[in-house]
Amino acid sequence: MAVTGVFMSAVADTHAQDHHHGPAKGFSRWLLTTNHKDIGTMYLIFSFAMFLLGGSMAMVIRAELFQPGLQIVQPEFFNQMTTMHGLIMVFGAVMPAFVGLANWMLPLMIGAPDMALPRMNNWSFWLLPCAFLILVSTLFMEGGGPNFGWTFYAPLSTTYGPPSTTFFIFAVHIMGISSIMGAINVIATILNLRAPGMTLMKMPLFVWTWLITAFLLIAVMPVLAGVVTMMLMDINFGTSFFDASGGGDPVLFQHVFWFFGHPEVYIMILPAFGAVSHIIPAFSRKPLFGYASMVYAVGAIALLSFVVWAHHMFTVGIPIVGQLFFMYATMLIAVPTGVKVFNWVATMFRGSLTFEAPMLFAVAFVILFTIGGFSGLMLAIAPADFQYHDTYFVVAHFHYVLVPGAIFGIFASAYFWLPKWTGHMYDETLAKTHFWLSFVGMNLAFFPMHFLGLAGMPRRIPDYALQFADFNMVSSVGAFMFGATQLLFLFIVVKCIRGGKEAAAKPWDGAEGLEWTVPSPAPYHTFSTPPEVK
């Protein structure tokens, strides 16, 4: 993929030993690499593999829910599928995809030669396949894999969990270590390796959102490690953190989990905010509206994300004062989120718009993420949440923020930067087909879930009452369509790597940023000499 020996002025300098700088050959190139581009590529490939694995589990779920009655799987296995689907998509697909984008793009965007801590970078990646090997292997253990939902509420996951739970805990610990090291690397890179002249308020938004995301990761991944460690103690060492008969409290689990879990949902969306803030101006041929307010809004969202966790727990019986606090704080998040949406729309307003695949995904991102935001606002109204809570309305809500939010953000980024990565333009017709099939499939799959939830269908059930049958069938058809479409993405990317129209250094006429000053494909080493930012 990377072509050696092609250096443009920004990177050429006088390198007598240029030939030492090319990638090694064979498997050891990937195993031992400390190159941010190689590691970024591995993260992206890994996350796409996980996306397909987690997606095929979703297909099992939707196939079982195609009709009422138990047809394909039994409830025990169904619960393992919902649990593993959630865990794999969150920790295996979305988060590593953003780390992959960060690896590729942060050094290119800030004019750095590589990540600040390249060896640690290698280790953070290679921990991930190990963690997921352990996690997925639990499916083949006696008693099956995790079956308690991706939120693994105690005591269902402790006293009543399958024997493989300890392996699950170990896998979560390893993922956590990987994420924390990745976050440290991002912070060290951004704070230390920016090109001269690039002040904080001149940083590209993707850099800003990743910086804030990295701080969120460092703040909450240890909390996740703490809660799974408490589980480990309860299961294997006779403690009673979450067992009332030993003086513990099952609700404590939920408080600790969601103290991690709520910032976690912003970890999965903030980098997408950043990427979209590059793509929309590029295809509107107009600067981003309200750069400073975008930065402050992301900061505000990140801070607020620490004080809203109990809105996931409105029905557990917290006192009314707590209930009110978490309701108000949650509603407040709508303000900075609204600012971001208004800014994107204002950026498009009076631009000169074209709709290549990155822009299509970005515009769909803004519309559909906003719909997910609306249902989020509805869920924030605590009294109404008593009706919405743990129904398909919630499933619809978080799939609207995660699929057209995080995942469309990733697709938009991939198409936007593929020419930079591969040196070739992707097939625009196929990419647009990918977009429209994904768009229709995704809405068909998830929009009816709002209706199902409002009609009273609880989430995480393998079988349902007859009045839910019609919309479930529609939803399953949409899900199959969305799932199958993703194979097309694989085809498009492979095709783009293997050939296609040569990409210019700056293939999008409205694009801004240092990454477009290096040739396409980006040479194996870039910015050995830092560029000057004015």
């Binding site: 009422p68 307010s293 009294p383 007859l466």
Partner: protein
């Protein structure tokens, strides 16, 4: 007002889109039958319309840009990238809308939390996978199990009208009275939900949550467990029957009498055949969900009983595990869940069914004595 406007809208929609007015294509939350559920419905509609209006404005501007400001239409890009006034406005206006929204939400929440001055108190306990209802002022209680036959779930039989939403024993409440529910659980967390009441509360082992309702319209109301609680989470419905007060009082009297009769059954002399017959029934409701109807279990979480040492060897150990459960596992203590008669019947059944032909039986009296010795 708003509720009426919505109903009118729904009617109009129903006339315009006949297929969509069928029950199976329900699009929206229903107002329910209690004050709480109506208030929630009204909040839901208010916030929904606020979102719709904001959506129309924001997406309107966006779509207008998409159509009017395309490069292919010859649009030349402007170069503005900030406007302090606009940015302040679109920060403050949403904030004001939120404050306006928070006021009625707060009022409803305060009302929902007011569990004082109840007239009937019912303790609800979640079990894997059934509900127990105890009328704590009347000194009786019972379990409520899924009544949908297994054959319907496995598609060997046509599904009934209330598929998965039907139980053997309804929770019966009087209309027009404030009912307080004390919600807890025996094993894992469950959540008790009746959409028509606007009541949902988590049932947490070791803690008691309070909630309340007042139903004015007699009828049967159906809901489900809404917190993932293990393999049969989808199979533990809630069915509440609201009846006029007189009917309720008669029902309570009957229930108390039946409870008394049940207690007397302990003293009766039971034969093996009687115990086996009763044991099979009790086994199906209390044990079969985990240990399976044929005693084969689902190892390792739920061991087989067929040919197991517990069910074929030492009787005392068998009684102990059924009455007291086994800590650290999914095996519950059935001592307080089942009557002495049912305990004796189940144990006898397990020791003699599926080829466990021990020929041994235990009588309700023996169980009674065993429990008293503890």
């Amino acid at each position: 007002m708003r509720v009426h406007a919505q109903r009118a809208g729904a009617l109009l929609g129903g006339l315009m889109f006949p297929a969509w007015s069928m029950a199976d294509w329900t699009l929206n939350m229903t107002p329910g039958v209690t004050g709480t559920s109506n208030e929630i419905f009204s909040l839901h509609m208010t916030i929904l319309w606020i979102c719709v209006v904001i959506g129309v404005v924001v997406f309107g501007v966006m779509f207008w840009s998409i159509f009017a400001h395309r490069k292919s239409q010859g649009a030349k890009p402007a170069n503005f990238h900030e406007n302090t006034l606009v940015e302040i406005l679109w920060t403050i206006i949403p904030f004001v809308i939120l404050v306006v929204m928070a006021i009625p939400a707060t009022a409803t929440l305060v009302d929902m939390y007011d569990t004082t001055e109840s007239e009937v108190d019912i303790k609800i306990t979640g079990y894997q996978w059934k509900w127990q209802y105890e009328y704590i002022n009347e000194d009786f209680g019972y379990f409520s199990n899924l009544a949908t036959p297994r054959d319907q779930i496995d598609n060997r039989q046509a599904k009934g009208e209330n598929y998965l939403l039907e139980v053997d024993n309804h929770l019966v409440i009087p209309v027009g009275k404030k009912i307080r529910f004390l919600v807890t659980a025996n094993d894992v967390i469950h959540s008790w939900w009746v959409p028509d009441f606007g009541v949902k509360k988590d049932a947490i082992p070791g803690f008691i949550n309070e909630t309340w309702t007042r139903v004015d319209k007699p009828g049967i109301y159906r809901g489900q467990c809404t917190e993932l609680c293990g393999k049969d989470h989808g199979f533990m419905p809630v069915v509440v029957e609201a009846v006029p007060e007189e009917e309720y009082n008669t029902w309570v009297a009957e229930k108390k009498e039946a409870a008394e009769r049940e207690r007397q059954l302990t003293q009766k002399d039971w034969t093996m055949a009687e115990l086996m017959e009763r044991g099979e029934k009790a086994y199906q409701t209390a044990c079969a969900a985990c240990h399976q109807a044929d005693g084969s279990g689902a190892p390792p979480a739920f061991p087989a009983l067929k040919g197991s040492p517990i069910a074929t060897q030492d009787m005392a150990a068998h009684i102990d595990i059924v009455v007291n459960g086994k800590s650290g596992t999914a095996m519950q203590a059935f001592g307080n869940q089942l009557s002495e008669v049912d305990l004796a019947a189940v144990i006898t059944y397990e020791r003699n069914a599926w080829g466990n032909n021990t020929g041994e039986m235990v009588t309700p009296k023996e169980i009674f004595d065993y429990k008293n010795q503890q």
